[in-house]
């Protein structure tokens, strides 16, 4: 484990809550509003951390474990995520499987905590989350396997660092398809707009929001911070895939990567501003489309 990678990961821990801020400012810009400050999530986290937590007598330890295990899982996933083209602190061969299932564990604990409240309302959200991620996960994994096959490396850091201009010239169409599939999955998994609306509190539209309604105080802070980190790790994979050069110098890599993350957040904001949320019945079709794109990319690199 080298020092540079650790410093970069700590930097990410500090920077991750900026992403939702940038997205919200972009949306505000499109709506002609001032919008919340870019640092709003930091203020929210600070405020929530000060508060005490209230637990219903219906709930068990599962409810209390949910946010903590979720945050822990995504933190470990962060230590597997490369910082642009430079390797992650814990990178090893085959870590892409661990990465996918750490995100799966986080989702599983959120779902279990939601079911533990005994509220039919939260159960509904849990059911939707489980169903949609069942469709999203294969698409994500097929994309990962396709990139691994193209670059000949089984660790996230290795395979994304190996994506070069030469790779893009050789299998450009496949990489574009994978990037498109990952973008759809990124939006779906992080409850962004074509799938879920992060602003609403209506039972008909919510997926992710509804599952965390009963959490408060530090627990909710853990959930919000975990969500920001999840957005960061999934976005980081996409941005690293799209950067076609390997800048040898450290600061150049950092600049390109952080610039890419900023552009990604602006892009998500634009998507949220110009698109309406899909009808719930259409969401599986969107995810199936992402799976078709990933499968096509897989066949293109296998042939």
């Amino acid at each position: 484990m080298n020092v540079v990678a650790c410093v970069q990961t700590v930097l990410v821990l500090l920077l991750a809550p900026l992403l939702p801020g940038v997205i919200n400012r972009t949306k505000a810009f499109f709506a002609g509003r001032q919008g919340p400050p870019v640092l709003q999530l930091y203020f929210d986290l600070w405020k929530l951390a000060q508060k005490g937590a209230v637990y219903s007598r219906t709930t068990t330890w599962v409810f209390r474990a949910g946010p903590i295990v979720g945050l822990a899982a995504v933190l470990v996933a962060l230590f597997l995520t490369p910082f642009g083209k430079s390797a992650a602190p814990l990178a090893f061969g085959g870590d892409l499987i661990l990465f996918a299932y750490l995100l799966g564990l986080m989702r599983f604990m959120t779902v279990m905590a939601a079911l533990d409240t005994g509220s039919s309302f939260e159960g509904m959200g849990a059911s939707r989350e489980a169903f949609f991620s069942m469709l999203a996960e294969p698409a994500f994994l097929i994309g990962l396997v396709a990139v691994a096959r193209v670059t000949g490396s089984l660790s996230l850091s290795g395979m994304l660092a190996n994506v070069s201009a030469e790779t893009w010239l050789r299998v450009g169409p496949a990489l574009v398809l994978i990037a498109a599939a990952w973008m759809v999955i990124l939006l779906a998994e992080n409850s962004r707009i074509p799938v879920d609306d992060p602003n609403t509190h209506l039972e008909l539209t919510m997926i992710h929001e509804v599952m965390v309604l009963d959490h408060g105080g530090p627990d909710f802070a853990a959930i919000l911070y975990g969500a920001a980190l999840k957005l960061w790790v999934m976005g980081a994979l996409l941005v690293s895939l799209l950067i076609p050069v390997h800048p040898g110098v450290l600061w150049k890599n950092g600049l390109m990567f952080l610039g890419g993350m900023f552009l990604l957040a602006v892009g998500i904001g634009v998507v949220e501003s110009i698109m309406a949320r899909l009808r719930l019945a259409r969401v599986p079709q969107l995810l199936m489309g992402a799976m078709a794109l990933a499968a096509l990319a897989m066949m293109l690199v296998l042939k």
Partner: protein
């Protein structure tokens, strides 16, 4: 690389077609597919027959990208039906089956390449996948207009296959095929119009009592 991108684009039009619910959108996608297919000879053929290739390409793009959608849109306007394609299986299931068909096409494409025709797996698989998609659309959609679209996609697939495997098709044969397809679409457009006048719908499932 450019050729690969064109083939991927063709595969994507098929996938969109499997997932799209509106008849008018489907017509537009088939038009795009036909137009892209018309440009394909430029990329695939030898440059010494440029005049002939140009003539055929212009004709194909004009027919498949312009005349067919116009005829089909006119039929759609005149029959006043609901604008959905009425599938027998859902759109998500269609897409999932599409992935399966795609895998089958790539497997078959690999087998055919092994015979030694000197064409790439991707191009063969694209042509096969277009045929499969066309057949699937004919089988799984209930409206007569969707079946015309399925037939067109099937024809596109056969055209692409012929273009790739038999490099030197005589241009008279290609012209003949184009003319046949044109007449077919024309007649089917008229037939749909007649069906809708006689039955107030174009749902082929309800036409069982046509048989004597």
């Amino acid at each position: 690389m450019l050729l690969d991108a064109v083939f991927v684009l063709l595969i994507l039009t098929n996938l969109i077609l499997l997932g799209s619910s509106l008849l008018s959108a489907s017509i537009r996608i088939v038009a795009v597919q036909g137009a892209v297919l018309g440009v394909l000879p430029f990329l695939a053929m030898a440059p010494d027959r440029l005049g002939r290739v140009l003539f055929l390409a212009v004709l194909t793009v004009a027919l498949k990208g312009g005349v067919f959608p116009w005829l089909l849109n006119r039929a759609l306007r005149e029959v006043h039906v609901r604008r959905e394609v009425a599938p027998l299986v859902g759109y998500s299931v269609s897409l999932a089956l599409g992935i399966g068909l795609l895998a089958l096409a790539f497997w078959l494409g690999g087998r055919i390449r092994d015979i030694g025709l000197g064409v790439s797996v991707l191009s063969l698989s694209t042509a096969l996948f277009m045929m499969f998609t066309g057949l699937f659309l004919v089988i799984s959609r209930q409206k007569a207009l969707s079946q015309v679209l399925g037939f067109l996609v099937l024809e596109n697939g056969i055209y692409a296959f012929g273009l790739l495997v038999v490099v030197n098709i005589h241009w008279l044969i290609e012209l003949g095929v184009l003319l046949d397809v044109f007449v077919a679409v024309f007649i089917m457009g008229v037939a749909i119009d007649q069906i809708s006048r006689a039955f107030d719908h174009m749902d082929v499932d309800q036409m069982n009592h046509l048989k004597g």
